[in-house]
Amino acid sequence: MADVPQPLTKPAGATGRGGSAVLAALTSRAVIAPIAAVVVFLVLWELLVWANGWPDYVMASPSDLPPAYAQYWELFLIMGWQTLWRTVVGLVVAVIFGVLVGMVMGFSRVMRDALYPLLVGFNAIPKATVVPIVALLFVGQHDFNTVLIAFMISFFPIAVSVSIGLSTLEPEYRDILRSLGASQATIFWKIALPKTLPEFFGALKVAVTLAFIGTNLMEIVSPHGRGLGALFDSGKTNSNYPLMFAVLIALAFLGIVLYYVVVALEKIFAGWAERSPG
């Protein structure tokens, strides 16, 4: 239905050169450089802790982490999964809601004028203050609460980007299609939607990180919580500093994974918008 842009890379060519292409990709600068950066970062961290002679309860060092993971790996898997699915669900709801609101604001000037101040005001409220309210409002509904916060914190950039993408559509497109008798729906699927994709993915990258923060806020704050946030909280209660740091790293890892999933989707659906540098 939707005029989804075709990926620029031809699938036929990619499958033909299967193995060697994967090898080439893995040894490419794009992969080696970030890995090297991570290694350098870990070494510096270790050196810093070692040079200052900091004990565990001040600052854990990278070498403390593997034992922490080894001891609690089962918890990490369970909690990590909980955090992940709730973030993703919150994000999916944010995408649906954000796109709908963005469409309404993008197509109707009246709605844009009406909704914009409301949205900005809502976005300006620090979500840390909303967390306890939501936790009290729906006591015990832990999954629901977490998804709700992840959604609330992340839909704003999506709504704004979609509305801007739609309202800045050149009038010529509309005139050309309408003069041929195309319906509003056709104009949306063929032009407005694909044209908005680059802005949409830009916003989605921001939203992913935000949704993640939302999930963790809720997990840490609410009693008997679940997910990595709760694991962090229990580490804090037991003064288990290596565990706390291990959770932070796990969170960072999940964040990176989600982010790159979005980047991959962007490459597939909006790769045409990429300008080659130089």
Binding site: E172, S179, L180, G181, P194, A270, W272, A273
Partner: protein, 280 residues
Amino acid sequence: MQNLIEIKGVRHAYQTQSGPLPVLDGLEIAVPEGGFVAVVGPSGCGKSTLTKLVAGLLKPDEGEVWLHGEKVKSPRSTVGMAFQNPVMLEWRTILQNVMLPLEIVPTKMTRRQKEDRARYLLDLVGLAGFEGKRPSELSGGMRQRASLCRALVHSPEVLILDEPFGALDAFTREDLWQIMHQVKEKEPFTGVLITHDLRESIFLADQVVVLSGRPARTQYVLDVGTTGTRDLDHLYTAEASEMLATLRHQIEVAQGRAPAEPEQTATPDLPPGSAAQGMA
């Protein structure tokens, strides 16, 4: 003879925050089938509004627009449009961009036929070999040529061009004028060209309509006379200079910078320069 485009006593006003803004006021234009009319007039007088009325994108407040013996009430797929800004969908190749109208108008063509049609037109405007390129890889002149193909791909009866060459440099523009003639020979259409370039108007059109300032009415109609292919040298003949002078004078009248009667331009009480004539 029946006219393919007939604009009869058209009035139109936009509703703005400070009340209605009358834009067209008693417009009369008639273009025979296969004819090519150029419309010139002061900036902001309502030329683009006129194209929207012909395309059926706007309804006139008063008066009628007729296309091929039918009153225009809504958009119809027998119209092709190209604008000064040759918008292209960046995620599509040039070929796919040109084929866009065929995805919207009802047609019995197979995919293969649609592609062949688009390729044929691209070849006609000298874009053979660029079918697979992305719009961002093309120069402004090339994009404008592709935009012309897109406007023609569904074989419209009426081709509406709103300052299509306005943003191009002089040489590219003259190139495109000649391409326009070649295209018209192979792909007959009835044309409406909005332009600010008087030389362009007499080179491409067989009838030039001068609109008055806003609200626009038909102020003057110049019969260019020659139909069919013209070459650029024609623009430097005495006959052409005379037509250009007449048009320039009419534009000045439309802008309110010269009195309506050309004879009076010689009267001494006018400020010097205000009645500048191209012929002098």
